[in-house]
Symmetry: C2
C-alpha cells in the first residue's frame, strides 16, 4: 500500500502506482511549502483528487461563530484558511483525449519527494483510450530561498508515434470546495471565497487579483512560462476573472518532447491596492524568470544541505523509521522555514484542517525543534505572536485579566475558539509562548530579539499569570478554573502542568527584566511587580496524592472515577466523537500527555522516583486520542527506562501521517506530531534537556537499534551526538526486554559497557554539557566518547486495553 | 410610578395613567392565563405596546442550534415558543379617528386585575384629535374552568354627543415580532412562524388554522361575538389567511353604548388534521356561547374562591407586600392551573423569555407551592415530566448514562440546552423532579399517581445517579463533574446540594419501590439495585472545610479566589453579562442560593450551628443575579434568626416583577421567584418543613409585622397558621434589630411571650405536627395557640458591597 514499506530510500518518499489510490494520504505528504506558500501534492492535471489546496500563510476569510446560547466574551467571528488561486494545474490533451489516469491505461506511475533537493518528482506512462502513449514527467518546487516563488517543470514525450499535444496551464480561483467529512476538526468550507478584482494578461504572463469579501484581504497570483520542444508551438494566453490559461499546442514527434516551465508567484496584503499587488507579483515573476528553473533547483539543494547538516537524525536498525523521521523533519522545516513573522499553523500549509489555525502546539512541540535546527523560523513564529500582542492585551481586558491573553486558535491573532472550556480556559498557551521564547533566547543568545520581542512576551504572560492565580490563606499560589493540555479534562484547579509552566514563565520574566532593563521600563514593570512574580513562583502549589504516591494531573483528579476501558470497544475511539465532554471530564481518562508533559518540560521539578510512578499511573489512563501525545510519552518512557516502549511511541509519532493513524491526513499533516519525531531522537534517546538554558544529555539506545546519531544547534554551536551499541548483551534477546513481565531475575535494560556515546562539537566555541549527570567539555575536533551507564529493569507499565502502541520489532 | 405604591388594594393590582408608560411591566403583570392559554396584558386596541403575545402551552417551533465547535451529544435543534394567532385585538374607530392613546387626549385611564374574580378591567376616557369624547371599558378573562376559552367584554360610550363608532374585532396571525433586547435570556424571535392551512367564516364566528413549518404543529383559533347597543348595528365578517375580522359599526347616541362580547377558543395538536382542529374550536365556541360572559365570570369567581380558601397569605404591617404576595400567588396559579399534563415554563405563559422553556425551577420552586395550594396542577406538571421519559431515557443513553436524563430546558421534552456546562451537566434537575414527586405523593397521598407515574420517575432518576456517581477507594459515594444550582460555578466535584438531593432521591426510590412492587417489577428493579441505592445513599460524601467551619459549595470551593466586589461597580451586574464564565467559575462568587438551598431542602442534613455559619459565609458571596435566590435566602435567614433580612428578601422575591428588579419583565414574569413569595411566608416565617413527608412548623414574625397567617393543604387537610405579636418588646425599636451591629448587650431578636401562633385545622382528619420541635395534634374546631420561643441575637451577616437587599421598613 505505502510505497515505503519495502526497503524505503532514506532520503526519498516514494509512492508507486498506489499513489493514485492513496491520494488522501499523498496529497498531504507531497505538499510542498516554505512557510509562506503551500501547494498540496495534487497531480499536475488536477484530477483525480481528494482535496485540492493552495494556501498562503495568514490569508483567511472571516465567518460567523454562532452560539446557541450567547455568553460574555464569546468570539462572534472566526477565521478560515482560504484555498486561494491554484497555480499548480497543468492539464494535458493527448490527441483529443484529456490525460486522466482514471481513463485509458496507466502503464507506469511513480511520484517521489526528494528530501535533499526539495523537489517533488512525478513520472507517468499512459495509454490514452484510443491507444496513444505518452510519458509525462514533472518536477515541482516551492522555493525555500525565494519565499513568494514556486515552479513546475513539465515534460511530455510521445512513446510510440507522433502526437498532437496540448498543455493547458491554469491559474484558477474559486474551485468548488472539496467536501468535508463532518469531523469537528475539519475546516469550515467556504463557497466562492474570492471576489475578482483585477486580471492582467501580458505576452508571457498572467496575474489574477482577488479579494475576500469579509476579511478584505487581497491576494495576487501570477504565472509565467518558458516552453521548449518542437519548432512550431502555438501559444495562447486568456484571462477571465477566475481563470487565466496558457494553452500550448504542438505536433510532437517520437523522440521529441514538449517542455514547459511554469513559474508561479504569490502575494497578499490587507493594505496594498490591487494594482500594487499585481505589480509586486509581476516583479517576482520577472526575478523568477531570471533565476530560472535550474537556478531555483540549485538554491533549493543548497538550502537543504545547510539545513540537514545541523538537523539530521541517523538511525541504524529501523529503516522505515529512518525515512519517517527525515520526512517529518522536512515537513517541520516546510511549515516554518519561510516564516519571517508568520504563524505556524497546526497543519502547516498542508491542508485546511483546524481551519488553518495555529495553536499552542507550535510553541510547545514545533518551535523547540526549529530552535535547535533552524532557529530563524522559531524567531519568526515568536515575532508573529508578538505582532498579535495588541489583540492579546485587548482580549485580556475583555476577560477581566491583565497582561496578554493570546488566542487559543487563530490565524490573525483574534480569538476564534468557539468552545471556551477547551479554548479560552487553556491559558497554558501563555506559558508555552514564554517557554518557547526563553528557550529560543537561551539557545541562540539572540539579544536583539529578546530586547525587541522576547522580554515583552515574557512580561505580558507573567502579568497574565498574576491575574489568573491567587495566594491562598496558607500562602500557596494557586491557579484555578483553567484547562491543561489534556482536553479530556477541563476547567480544573491547579493543573500541575499549568502551574509549573506558569512558575517557569514568572521566573523567566524576572530574569529577562534583569537583562533588558530598558524594555522593562518601557513596559512599566515595577520592582514590586518583580517581587510579586518571584514570590508567586516560589509559592506555586501543585497537588500530590500521598495515598497513591503520584501527582494528580489537577486537584482531585486521582479521586475521579475510572474510565471503563474494558467496555470501550475500538470503534469508540477517539472518545470525543462518541462520548460527551461531561463524561470524559469527570473520569480518569487522559487524551494526551499532560502530567507526563510536565515530567518532560519541567522535569527539574520532579524526582526520578516520582517520574517512574507518575509515568506508570498516567500511562494506564492515557488513550492518545491526540497526536500531541506519543512523542512526549516516548521521551518520558525513555527517561524512566522503558526503551522499547519509547521506540514504539517514536514510531507512532513519526508514522502519524505516513500511516494515516488519525484517519484525517487528507485535511493536512500533524506538524507537531511530526516535530516529535526529531524530538524523541534528541530528547528521548539522546536525553537532551535544556532546563534554565543549560544543555544536558543522557543518551540510551533502545534494544532494536545499533546506532543513533543526531545534530543540533545550540548557542552558535553545532553539536553531534552518536550513540552506538558496542558490545553484545550478556544473554537473551535485547528486543524482548521491556515488554517482559517478570521478577527481579530479569536482565537489566542496559548492561554497563554495552553502549557508548560520542559527542562532537562540529562548530563553535567550547561547550560545557553533561553526560548522564557528568560534566563534559566539548571542543571542535576533540570527540569525547563515554559509556552509557547501566540501567536496571524497571517495573512494567500498561496502557488502557486496546491502546497499546503498535509494537516496533 | 407603580400605581400600587400609595395604599395598594390588597386584592387588586391597579395601574392608572402610568400604565401607558409602563407597558413593559404591565403587559406581563396583566397577563391572563390558565396554564393552557396565555394572553399578555396588551391594550385591547393592540397599540401602543412593547410586546404582544398569545401563547398556548406546549406549542413551539423548532430552530437550529448552531455550535461554533461541534461536540458529541450537543443538541442540534432547539424549540421556541410561538406567538400564536392573537384574538385579544379589539380596535375602535371614533368618527374617523382610530382610538389610540398616543393621539388625542387621555382624560382618564385605569386598568386593574382583580385577584378574586380573575378579571382584568380597563377604563379609558379619551378625546379624539378632533374632539370626540368616548369612554372605553373592557373586561377580559381566561377561563380557569374551561381551559380552551377566553372572553372579552368591550363597551364604548360617547361622553358628549352622538358618534359614529366602529369596532374591529380581529384574529391575527404572524404579527411582526417585537424586537428582542439582545439579552441571552430572551427568546429567539421567529419571523412568520405560522403557515395558514384553513380559514372558516360562518355567520357569527371565524376560525383560522395554522401550522408551524418545522415542528409541524397545528393551532386553531376561533372567535364568536355577541353585540348589543343601538338598534341598527352593521356587522361584517371577513376571513383572510392570517386575518379574520368582525367589523361592527353603528351610530351611537349620547347615553347609549356599543357592547361587544368576544369569545375566544384555542386548540392545538401534533396529530389532528386541520378540519378536526377547526371543528374542535367551533365546538368550544358553541359551548362558550351557551355559557356566556356572565357564566364564565361566575365560574371564574367560584374557582378562585375555592383556591384562595386554602392558599391565601394575610400580612398585617406591610400592605404593599400583602398585595405583592397575592399577585404572585395568583400568577403561580395561572401558570399551573390548567395543567393536566403540561409543562410549567419558567415564564408561565406570560412572555417569550427563555424561549418558553421549562427548567428545574418548576419542580424546585413552583411545584411545592402548587402541591400545598392546588395539588392537581403539581400532578399535571409531574405527569408532563413522565411523558418525556422516552426522550429522557434516550438522552441518558446518548450520554452514556443509565436511567433518565431529563432535558435541562425544553418545551416538548427534547434537550434544547446549547451550553452544556450550565445545561446537561446540571443533573440536579433529576433530584428536583424526584423531590417534587416525593413531596407531592407525601402531601396528597395520591397512590394512583405514585403507581402510574411517581415511582417510575423516582426509579429512573435513582438509576441516573448510580451511573453519575462512583464509590471511591475509601468507600465514599461521590458525584463528579456536575453543575449545581449556582450558575457562577460549573462542572465541579461533589456539589453539596446535588449530592444531598441525590441521596434523598435514592432513598425515596427505595421507599417507592417498597410501596409499588408491581411498578418496580415492571421497571425491572432488582434487589441488588435497591441494595446499591441504599448503600450509595448511606455513603454519599459531601465536603466540609474544617479550617473555616463551613461547607464548601463543592469540593475546593472555599479555596478559590475571592471575587473583588469592591471593584465591581453596580452597572456590572448581573455579572454574567459583564464577565466571562471562566472568571466567574473560578472565584468565590455565587449567583444564587446553592449551598443555602441545600440548607433549606436538605435542612435535615445540617446542624443548627452549621446553618448559621454556612448562611453567613454564603451570604457574603451571593450576588443574587438570579431571581431564584432571594426566596431561599429569606427562608434560611428566617430559620437562623435574621428576621428583618428575611423580610427584606421576601420583598425582593415578591417585587421581582412588580418593580421590574431584573429589568426584563417585558419578556415575562419570573414565576419561580413569585412562587417564592408564598413559600417565604410558609417556610420562612412559618418555618414549615416537610422532610420525609412529615409536616413541621417553627413560626416567627419579623419585626415589622404584627400578624401573618397562611393556609395550606396537606394530606387531605387544610391547615391554617396564624402568628401574632401579642406583647410589646421590652425596649427599643424592633425594626432596627437585625441590622444593628453590636455586642452581646443587643436585645434578643424575639423575647419569650412576644409572639404566639394559632394552629387551626380547617378540614380533614386530625394531624400530628410540630411547633418549634414540640409535638402538636390538630383537630378541626380545636385551635391550638402556642408561644414562639425566645430567640437570641445572632451574629450579623453581610452581603457583597452594593448587593444588600432594599431595606423593608
Amino acid at each position: 500500500m505505502n510505497g515505503v514499506t519495502d526497503g524505503p530510500d532514506p532520503w526519498r518518499l516514494t509512492w508507486g502506482p498506489d499513489d493514485l489510490q492513496q491520494l488522501a494520504v499523498t496529497e498531504s505528504l507531497f505538499t510542498l511549502a516554505n512557510g509562506h506558500i503551500g501547494l498540496r501534492g495534487s497531480l499536475d492535471e488536477g484530477e483525480p483528487r481528494v482535496r485540492s489546496g493552495t494556501y498562503i500563510n495568514g490569508f483567511y476569510e472571516e465567518r460567523p461563530l454562532p452560539h446557541p446560547e450567547a455568553g460574555y466574551g464569546f468570539p462572534e467571528s472566526g477565521q478560515t484558511v482560504v484555498n486561494i488561486t491554484d497555480g499548480k494545474l497543468v492539464r494535458l490533451i493527448v490527441g483529443d483525449s484529456p490525460f486522466d489516469t482514471r481513463y485509458g491505461t496507466v502503464d507506469r506511475h511513480e511520484r517521489f519527494l526528494d528530501l535533499r533537493t526539495g523537489i517533488l518528482h512525478r513520472t507517468t506512462d499512459w495509454t490514452s483510450p484510443v491507444g496513444a502513449r505518452v510519458r509525462v514527467t514533472s518536477q515541482r518546487l516551492v522555493s525555500f530561498a525565494y519565499r513568494t516563488i514556486a515552479a513546475i517543470k513539465y515534460e511530455v514525450t510521445p512513446l510510440d508515434g507522433d502526437l498532437y499535444l496540448a498543455i493547458q496551464s491554469d491559474l484558477i480561483a474559486n474551485e468548488p470546495p472539496d467536501g468535508g467529512t463532518g469531523d469537528p476538526r475539519e475546516a469550515a468550507v467556504l463557497e466562492c471565497p474570492l471576489q475578482s478584482e483585477l486580471g492582467e494578461r501580458a505576452v508571457d504572463h498572467a496575474v489574477l487579483v482577488h479579494r475576500t469579501p469579509k476579511s478584505g484581504l487581497r491576494v495576487a497570483a501570477g504565472m509565467r512560462h518558458v516552453t521548449a520542444g518542437p519548432e512550431q508551438i502555438s501559444r495562447q494566453l486568456t484571462v477571465d476573472p477566475d481563470l487565466a490559461r496558457l494553452t500550448v499546442a504542438a505536433s510532437v514527434r517520437r523522440g521529441e518532447s514538449l517542455h514547459l516551465v511554469k513559474l508561479l508567484a504569490y502575494g497578499w496584503s490587507h493594505r496594498r491596492s490591487a494594482p500594487a499587488l499585481r505589480d509586486q507579483v509581476d516583479g517576482a515573476l520577472t526575478v523568477a524568470g531570471l533565476i530560472g528553473w535550474d537556478g531555483l533547483a540549485t538554491r533549493q539543494r543548497e538550502f537543504l544541505d545547510d539545513f540537514w547538516r545541523a538537523a539530521d537524525v541517523e538511525i541504524d536498525g529501523d529503516a522505515e523509521l529512518q525515512q519517517a523521521v527525515r520526512v517529518s523533519t522536512f515537513h517541520v522545516l516546510q511549515a516554518g522555514s519561510g516564516s519571517q513573522r508568520d504563524a505556524i499553523p497546526a497543519k502547516g500549509l498542508t491542508g485546511p484542517g483546524y481551519d488553518g489555525h495555529a495553536f499552542w502546539d507550535t510553541e510547545t512541540f514545533v518551535l523547540p525543534v526549529l530552535t535547535y535546527t533552524f532557529p530563524q523560523a522559531a524567531r519568526g513564529a515568536l515575532i508573529w505572536r508578538h505582532r498579535t500582542l495588541p489583540m492579546a492585551r485587548a482580549r485580556a481586558e475583555v476577560l477581566g485579566l491583565r497582561g496578554a491573553a493570546f488566542a487559543w486558535r487563530t490565524i490573525n491573532g483574534q480569538e476564534c475558539s468557539g468552545y471556551w472550556p477547551a479554548g479560552t480556559a487553556a491559558f497554558h498557551l501563555a506559558a508555552a509562548i514564554a517557554d518557547a521564547t526563553a528557550r529560543y533566547v537561551a539557545a541562540t543568545q539572540d539579544e536583539e530579539f529578546e530586547r525587541r520581542y522576547g522580554a515583552e512576551l515574557l512580561v505580558e504572560t507573567a502579568r497574565l499569570w498574576m491575574s489568573l492565580g491567587h495566594f491562598t490563606r496558607s500562602g500557596d499560589f494557586r491557579i484555578h478554573g483553567v484547562t491543561g493540555p489534556d482536553e479530556y479534562t477541563a476547567v480544573v484547579d491547579d493543573n500541575v502542568y499549568t502551574n509549573l509552566m506558569a512558575q517557569r514563565n514568572l521566573r523567566e520574566a524576572v530574569q529577562a527584566c534583569g537583562r533588558c532593563v530598558e524594555t522593562a521600563a518601557r513596559l512599566g514593570v515595577t520592582d514590586h511587580e518583580i517581587t510579586e512574580w518571584r514570590a508567586a513562583a516560589d509559592a506555586v502549589y501543585f497537588p500530590y496524592d500521598r495515598a497513591l504516591g503520584v501527582h494528580p494531573q489537577s486537584e482531585g483528579f486521582t479521586r475521579h472515577g475510572e474510565w471503563d476501558f474494558e467496555r470501550t470497544p475500538p470503534e469508540k475511539y477517539p472518545l470525543l466523537l462518541h462520548y460527551p465532554y461531561f463524561e470524559l471530564y469527570r473520569k480518569q481518562v487522559v487524551k494526551q500527555a499532560d502530567l507526563v508533559l510536565a515530567l518532560h518540560l519541567r522535569g527539574d521539578a520532579f524526582t526520578a522516583d516520582e517520574k517512574v510512578r507518575d509515568f506508570a499511573y498516567y500511562e494506564a489512563r492515557t488513550v492518545r486520542d491526540s497526536s500531541l501525545s506519543a512523542a512526549t510519552q516516548a521521551i518520558i518512557a525513555a527517561e524512566v527506562g522503558h526503551l522499547q516502549l519509547a521506540h514504539d511511541y517514536w514510531a507512532e509519532t513519526a508514522f502519524s501521517d505516513l500511516h494515516n493513524l488519525y484517519g484525517n491526513v487528507n485535511s493536512g499533516l500533524h506538524i507537531a506530531a511530526l516535530a516529535g519525531s526529531w524530538m524523541v531522537a534528541v530528547a528521548g534517546f539522546g536525553g537532551m534537556r535544556d532546563h534554565d538554558g543549560e544543555l544536558t544529555f543522557a543518551p540510551r539506545l533502545p534494544p532494536m537499534l545499533s546506532r543513533l546519531s543526531f545534530c543540533m544547534r545550540f548557542a552558535g554551536r553545532v553539536v553531534d551526538v552518536e550513540i552506538r551499541r558496542v558490545a553484545d548483551r550478556p544473554s537473551g534477546d535485547p528486543a524482548s526486554g521491556d515488554r517482559a513481565r517478570g521478577g527481579s531475575d530479569d536482565p537489566p535494560a542496559i548492561v554497563a559497557g554495552e553502549q557508548t556515546v560520542t559527542y562532537r562539537l562540529l562548530e563553535g566555541e567550547p561547550l560545557q554539557t553533561h553526560h548522564h549527570g557528568e560534566q563534559v567539555l566539548l571542543r571542535t575536533g576533540e570527540p569525547v566518547t563515554l559509556d552509557v551507564p547501566a540501567l536496571g529493569r524497571v517495573a512494567p507499565v500498561t496502557q488502557p486495553p486496546g491502546r497499546q502502541p503498535a509494537g516496533r520489532r
